[in-house]
């Protein structure tokens, strides 16, 4: 059963909690997901919606009446469930507040990452690696204050041998990020698309064990696991390229591709 509510925190409760609105909302989400059996909040953003289902993409689009929505950034994910039977709640993206993540792969660092992020108030209730990636991005960006590019330097950190050969400033930055946030390094194959307010980030694991292709046409930006997926939407691309493993490609609404 899927319910959709539009809610804002009760001002008195919010004041009482002495938290900012986003932290208050995130905590409510954790509380429901952990505390109420069978209930999960899948979408908790302000200007962001998540739609999940089991079925063919066209039927899902129909079911949620996606044609009624307009947005500057869309991510879609058809999942071939690797290790678990298909369950609509397990479909991607996973989202918290305005962060959403779709992920192709299976991370080998899962339990290290999970046990680390759970120290910071997150509860991994869905037991999938995508959930933990979402929380890491939320934590590093919203709570710690790292930029998305710096986050890529944490989760898909360059190898030490690469860092050692960087120019001084870069070297300091990347070795700091690796040392300070070593337990949030993600290993194993992954390609992720992380949506955030104002843009999207595409990122591969540092060995590039999963494919990832970027396409550009005028002011449109496409990222997908396979080039053919992009070609379906846009045949005449200006540029098609594959980012290197661990290299974050960040597209923002007003500042173009970084």
């Amino acid at each position: 059963m899927i319910w959709r509510y539009f809610v804002t925190p009760l001002p008195t409760k919010l004041d009482e909690s002495q938290l900012d609105e986003r932290e208050f909302t995130a905590r409510c989400v954790m509380k429901i997901n952990k505390g109420i059996e069978g209930a999960y909040v899948f979408s908790s953003g302000k200007n962001m919606g998540v739609f999940k289902a089991v079925g063919f993409p066209e039927d899902v689009g129909e079911f949620y009446k996606l044609y009624e929505y307009a947005g500057y950034c869309w991510t879609a994910h058809g999942r071939y469930p690797t290790n678990t039977p298909g369950w609509w709640g397990g479909a991607h993206p996973f989202a918290l507040l305005d962060y959403s993540v779709v992920h192709n792969g299976e991370i080998s660092s899962y339990d290290t990452n999970r046990r680390t992020i759970e120290m910071h108030g997150y509860k991994c209730t869905l037991l999938t690696d995508t959930e933990v990636i979402t929380y890491i991005i939320d934590y590093l960006n919203r709570k710690v204050g790292l930029t998305l590019e710096e986050i890529a330097g944490v989760v898909a950190a360059p190898f030490w041998q690469v860092i050692d050969n960087m120019p001084q400033g870069e070297k300091e930055k990347y070795s700091y990020l690796r040392k300070a946030f070593s337990s949030m390094l993600i290993t194993g194959p992954f390609s992720i698309l992380a949506g955030f307010e104002g843009g999207i980030m595409a990122l591969n694991d540092r060995l590039k064990l999963r494919s990832m292709v970027i396409g550009e046409k005028d002011d449109m930006f496409y990222a997908a696991s396979e080039e053919c997926a992009i070609r379906v939407l846009e045949e005449n691309l200006d540029r098609v390229w594959s980012p290197k493993g661990g290299e974050a490609v960040i597209a923002t609404l007003n500042r173009g591709v970084l």
């Binding site: 080998s108 339990d111 290290t112 046990r115 204050g145 337990s183 194959p189």
Partner: protein, 501 residues
């Protein structure tokens, strides 16, 4: 003296057809087991003196020797076992506390042997360490709670000082005094070559070894032997020793007969007087006192050295570790009940403390529940025997391991557990010049480096198999572990599932 009621535990089996009376065994044995009978023109042995160290066996040119466990036996009794009866005879004779050395040899469960590792199949590729980078480098020390930026928005390095290791292995504390100069030199040189650290133990730092300072952990123990400003500044890190796995709750005692020459100078103890380390630090009676010592040491070294607090794994180790994590220490080191020692009362060694696997699992879990796991690094020791023990320890939650006994074995130790006699035939746990020179540091250090690099290769293989290419992603990754033959409670404490789950 009455009748000696003890029958020797081991017998020297000499194959007379092979023996050529070269008398090598006689010269090699500091326990004087072997002698030559001029009249009969044969070699004889006094089994009662044999400690089963295999020195003669290894050096006999004709392989004429082997040591066998005696089949002489008491009437069988599962309760009053032979060893128990013999200990009573000994104490009835001597009136003294039984002493022994190295780690607890009794048949308690070894949890590492009941844990199995994972490997990738199909959905998640394994990684070949010969083709792809496989990172084993670790940094020990506390992690910052928040980031800082300068006025241009650049990240400021607010990491506290720490330790960098090429592989998560360090040589654990063994003092100069408990082991020989040559053994120390081997450890120091190997640490430098392998990009890791060794530990002075509580015996101070010999002036010859100051040159290995950046690969040295200097220890401050309850006796404060050899501690002064230059010593503290010489090392890469300072370790406060609160306890030791082989003898939790008690201090140490190096007899005056061993406090000679350089050892007396290094320990700063007058020649011939006993060096007694009290059981507690006399300035630490609670956690706030520990905090004071941590900060005095940091203050006196200008906050340039990380401070390690070493404790023995005892019953409420998790709560103790939590206190230490808040005391300002950068690293906690936990020593399990199988940890080695140069000398300990047998009853303490064999009956006090808990297994390191359980201690580690509960400490790591507790620190995480309290959200302070990143305040400290966790180093574990107390019988890490091979590279798979290391991988399992890291997956349970350790940042790094200490190896002591394994390092001595690499140097030739045969685990005869007689270190407390000071007559180590392998030149390790002795100060007798004739014996010390049997350990050649040029060869010793190479053997240690070989051991560390062999283990590093094996660690990489196991990591690659799990699809992990950085040791950071293995730390605390308990899903990579499964138990076999463990009960619910044990699995719960270890935080792992049973095989098949």
């Amino acid at each position: 003296m009455g009748i000696n009621l003890l029958y020797p535990e081991y017998e020297v089996a000499r194959n007379m057809d092979r023996c050529i009376n070269c008398r090598v065994c006689e010269r090699q044995c500091a326990n004087e087991v072997h002698s030559y009978d001029k009249e009969k023109k044969i070699m004889c042995s006094d089994d009662s003196k044999c400690v089963n160290c295999h020195r003669c066996v290894a050096l006999c040119p004709t392989r004429a020797l082997k040591i066998v466990k005696t089949d002489h036996t008491f009437k069988e009794n599962a309760n009053w076992r032979g060893s128990i009866i013999n200990e009573i005879y000994k104490q009835a004779e001597s009136g003294a506390v039984l002493l022994s050395s190295m780690g607890n040899p009794n048949a308690y469960p070894v949890y590492f042997d009941k844990i199995l590792l994972n490997a990738s199949q199909v959905t998640n590729p394994s990684i070949d360490p010969l083709r792809e980078p496989m990172e084993t480098k670790v940094f020990l020390g506390s992690k910052p709670n928040s980031i800082q930026r300068d006025k241009d928005g650049k990240l400021v390095n607010n990491l506290s000082c720490g330790i960098e290791l090429s592989v998560p292995i360090m040589f654990s504390a063994m003092s100069y005094g408990s082991i020989s100069y040559n053994a120390h030199e081997s450890l120091a040189r190997a640490a430098r070559e392998a990009g890791i650290l060794y530990n002075t133990g509580e015996g101070g730092l010999h002036k010859d070894f100051y040159q290995y300072g950046s690969n040295t952990i200097v220890q401050v123990a309850s006796g404060r032997f050899g501690v002064y400003k230059d010593y503290l500044e010489a090392g890469a890190a300072i370790e406060i020793k609160m306890g030791q796995g082989a003898k939790p709750g008690i201090g140490g005692h190096l007899p005056g007969t061993k406090i000679v020459g350089d050892i007396s100078k290094t320990r700063m103890v007058p020649e011939g007087s006993d060096a007694i380390s009290p059981a507690p630090h006399h300035d630490i009676y609670s956690i706030e006192d520990l905090r004071q010592l941590v900060y005095s040491l940091k203050e006196s070294t200008n906050y340039t050295k990380p401070v390690i607090v070493k404790i023995a794994a005892v019953h409420n180790v998790a709560a103790i570790a939590s206190g230490i994590a808040r005391s300002g220490a950068d690293i906690i080191s936990i020593d399990g009940f199988r940890g080695g020692t140069g000398a300990a009362p047998t009853r303490i060694r064999d009956n006090v403390g808990i297994p390191i696997e359980l201690a580690l699992a509960s400490v790591d879990q507790r620190l995480r529940e309290e959200g302070i796991r990143d305040n400290v690094s966790v180093v574990v020791g107390g019988s890490i025997r091979n590279s798979s023990d290391i991988v399992k320890a890291i997956a349970l939650g350790a940042d790094c391991v200490y190896i002591g006994t394994a390092a001595l074995i690499a140097l030739g130790c045969h685990l005869c557990r007689s270190c407390h006699t000071g007559k180590c035939n392998w030149g390790i746990a002795t100060q007798e010049p004739e014996l010390v020179k049997r350990l050649n540091p040029d060869m010793g250090y190479k053997r240690l480096v070989n051991l560390v690099s062999a283990w590093k290769h094996e660690i990489k293989e196991m990591m690659g198999g799990m699809g992990i290419n950085s040791i950071e992603s293995l730390r605390g990754n308990r899903l990579m572990l499964r138990g076999v033959g463990l009960n619910e409670k044990e699995l719960q404490i270890l935080g792992i599932k049973h095989a098949g789950e």
